[in-house]
């Protein structure tokens, strides 16, 4: 024990003092609390998956995928919803991918550093934060009512494209920014025009990143329910859409309808629908990971 004269001549104790003990104990306790908080999210994920699989497993069958919706749970399937989702999402990709990549190229490679560009940039990050249900209202107001497209695949896909655009643009910009400046300088040095530099050098180098970002944006769009509900994906559609002016329903909408029904059988059917949806999303995410690994191994700077 070393005593140091303090203000009140009280001895201040160093070494194995109770104060240090207490601080160390606090540190240890909180180490576990912090760890437990991290684990909580994983436990929640596990519980969620377990709940869904436990309830939906027995309802998984080919009939679920090949049958149309029905009032009788044992006959009900999500064939029309699955095809509705495929139609809407394919059209969404066709519209959102080129425009999103174009916008990312414009912002990173072409745009002058001025107020307009800054406005564009701020605007895009704000659009990424707009609730999806508001995009639904936009689609309802413009595509369904003003443009009179109606409650069809095209209106749903246009709405979903606008919803996914900010995410695709932001991911695209990040990948373009990761391409080293020296690559552009080398291409300019041998006389390439700006577009040639972008088309032949920057874009191929950034492409895996852009593709990964797009797949993630699209897999988020697949799970979106609210905007499609608002622009009028119908709740009961027995036939698949055969064109983009057909009325449609979608996978998450079918899940929503089954979940909202009071009968326990339909809740279990909803769980089976969720399994189908999650498998679809998991497949897309795996593709994204494979794309990322395949291509990043090739190009290294």
């Amino acid at each position: 024990m070393i005593s140091v004269p303090g203000v009140n001549d009280e001895p201040v104790v160093f070494g194995e003092s109770s104060q240090v003990d207490r601080r160390n104990r606090t540190a240890t306790v909180f180490r576990y609390i912090f760890f437990a908080s991290t684990i909580f999210g994983i436990l929640a994920l596990g519980t969620l998956l377990w709940t869904v699989i436990d309830k939906g497993w027995d309802w998984l069958s080919w009939g679920l995928i090949t049958n149309a919706p029905s009032r009788k749970p044992e006959l009900a399937g999500l064939n029309s919803a699955l095809f509705g989702t495929i139609w809407v999402i394919s059209l969404t990709i066709l519209m959102a991918f080129p425009v999103g990549v174009g916008a990312a190229i414009y912002l990173e490679e072409y745009a002058p550093k001025n107020r307009w560009t800054k406005l564009l940039q701020v605007n895009i990050s704000n659009l990424a934060g707009v609730p999806s249900v508001v995009y639904g209202l936009l689609g309802l107001g413009i595509f369904v009512e003003i443009m009179q497209i109606g409650r069809v695949v095209l209106a749903g896909a246009l709405t979903m494209a606008l919803l996914s655009l900010p995410v695709i643009i932001i991911a695209g910009q990040e990948s373009l920014r990761a391409v080293p400046l020296s690559l552009r300088q080398a291409a300019y040095a041998v006389g390439a025009t700006r577009w040639q530099v972008v088309r032949h050098h920057v874009l191929p180098a950034a492409f895996p990143g852009i593709l990964t970002g797009t797949i993630l944006a699209i897999s988020r769009a697949i799970g979106e329910t609210a905007p499609l509900l608002v622009v009028g994906a119908a709740s009961y559609i027995a036939t698949r859409p055969t064109g983009f002016m057909d009325s449609y329903t979608a996978l998450p909408i079918q899940i929503y309808n089954w979940t909202a029904r009071p009968q326990a059988e339909f809740k279990e059917l909803a769980a089976a629908g969720i399994i189908v949806l999650l498998v679809l999303l998991l497949t897309m995410n795996s593709v994204a990971i494979i794309v990322r690994q395949r291509f990043t191994n090739k190009a290294r700077w």
Partner: protein
């Protein structure tokens, strides 16, 4: 495009630029890309114009004062009243309660991942949180209805209503937790290690370094993540539509049901609403209010992030 790179200017000076035809196609491509970039502005204008136009027509039929300060929302009744406060209070109640789940757990998980976890542990835990963030909200809604409500909320509070705000809020909290954790972790990791080393040098424990040095240093980024999370919770739709009930009432008891702004939109579009009716227009008035609320929060959050960047770059 007014600015050209140095390389381009040099090429021009040396006479290395291409033919006129090539130049034209270059310009056309430049314009196409410009249009792609500008489409986002059109989207914003579209959102604002559609919401304001329809909301304006709505306010011709229902007084804006009654809308903003009225405490009765009976839109779907005959001669219904349009006082939006019950929807707003329910929305904010879900926002606050879900943050009680997401903020402490998300921040503590961020501290663990940034300050405690070894790179290997982090590499294992992080993908799980990302997976949690990738689950569609409709699945969280199902989870709230079939697990959180019967197995958690009604076990602890047997007299809770069938649809209650609490189970929806817990699910929303779990949904935004990964967002709080990952955004907060980013700002915690951006704190220079010199700060940590200085604190260790003074004999601080790991806990003291984390909570008294690192978190305060990253505070603006951490707060930005909280605000973004509230904004996301306020705009969340399917969870509350499924689990929080569809009765619009001034209610601060989380064990009772209450209809949020987003849940009202879902309720109306799930029925057969006639375009041009007052109820149809009320969707856009509610949507406008929701848009303004989330926009305000996003702007505040960006302001916090901008401040944070200035500090350490």
């Amino acid at each position: 495009m007014s600015d050209e790179s140095d390389a381009e200017a040099t090429a021009r000076a040396l006479g290395l630029t291409g033919s006129a035809a090539r130049k034209t196609s270059e310009q056309v491509i430049g314009w196409i890309l410009f249009l792609c970039g500008s489409l986002s502005i059109l989207t914003t204008i579209g959102i604002i114009v559609v919401l304001i136009e329809q909301a304006f027509e709505f306010f011709l039929e229902a007084s804006p004062i009654d809308f903003l300060f009225g405490t009765t929302w009976t839109a779907l009744f005959k001669d219904g009243e349009f006082g939006v406060l019950p929807l707003v209070t329910a929305t904010l109640l879900v926002g606050v309660l879900s943050m009680c789940v997401a903020i402490p757990l998300g921040l503590m998980a961020a501290i663990y991942l940034s300050e405690y976890a070894s790179p290997r542990v982090r590499a294992v835990l992080k993908p799980f949180l990302e997976l949690l963030a990738g689950i569609p909200t409709i699945v969280y809604g199902y989870f709230a209805l079939t697990f959180i409500n019967p197995e958690v909320v009604r076990r602890i509070f047997p007299d809770a209503q069938v649809y209650n705000v609490l189970s929806a809020s817990i699910a929303v909290g779990i949904m935004v937790l990964p967002m709080v954790a990952s955004l907060s972790e980013d700002s915690l990791r951006a704190v220079p290690s010199a700060l940590r080393e200085a604190a260790y040098g003074l004999g601080a424990t790991k806990f003291e370094v984390a909570t008294q040095v690192v978190v305060p240093a990253a505070l603006s980024g951490v707060i930005a993540s909280f605000i973004l999370a509230i904004s996301r919770a306020v705009g969340e739709t399917m969870i509350v539509a499924l689990a929080a009930g569809s009765r619009a009432q001034m209610n601060f008891n989380p064990l009772e049901g209450a209809q949020t702004m987003t849940a009202y939109v879902v309720q109306v579009v799930s029925g057969d609403v006639v375009a041009g009716s007052t109820v149809y227009k009320s969707l856009f008035a509610v949507g406008l209010l929701l848009f303004l609320m989330t926009l305000l929060m996003n702007i505040i959050s960006q302001w916090f992030v901008a401040r944070f960047r200035e500090e350490y770059q």
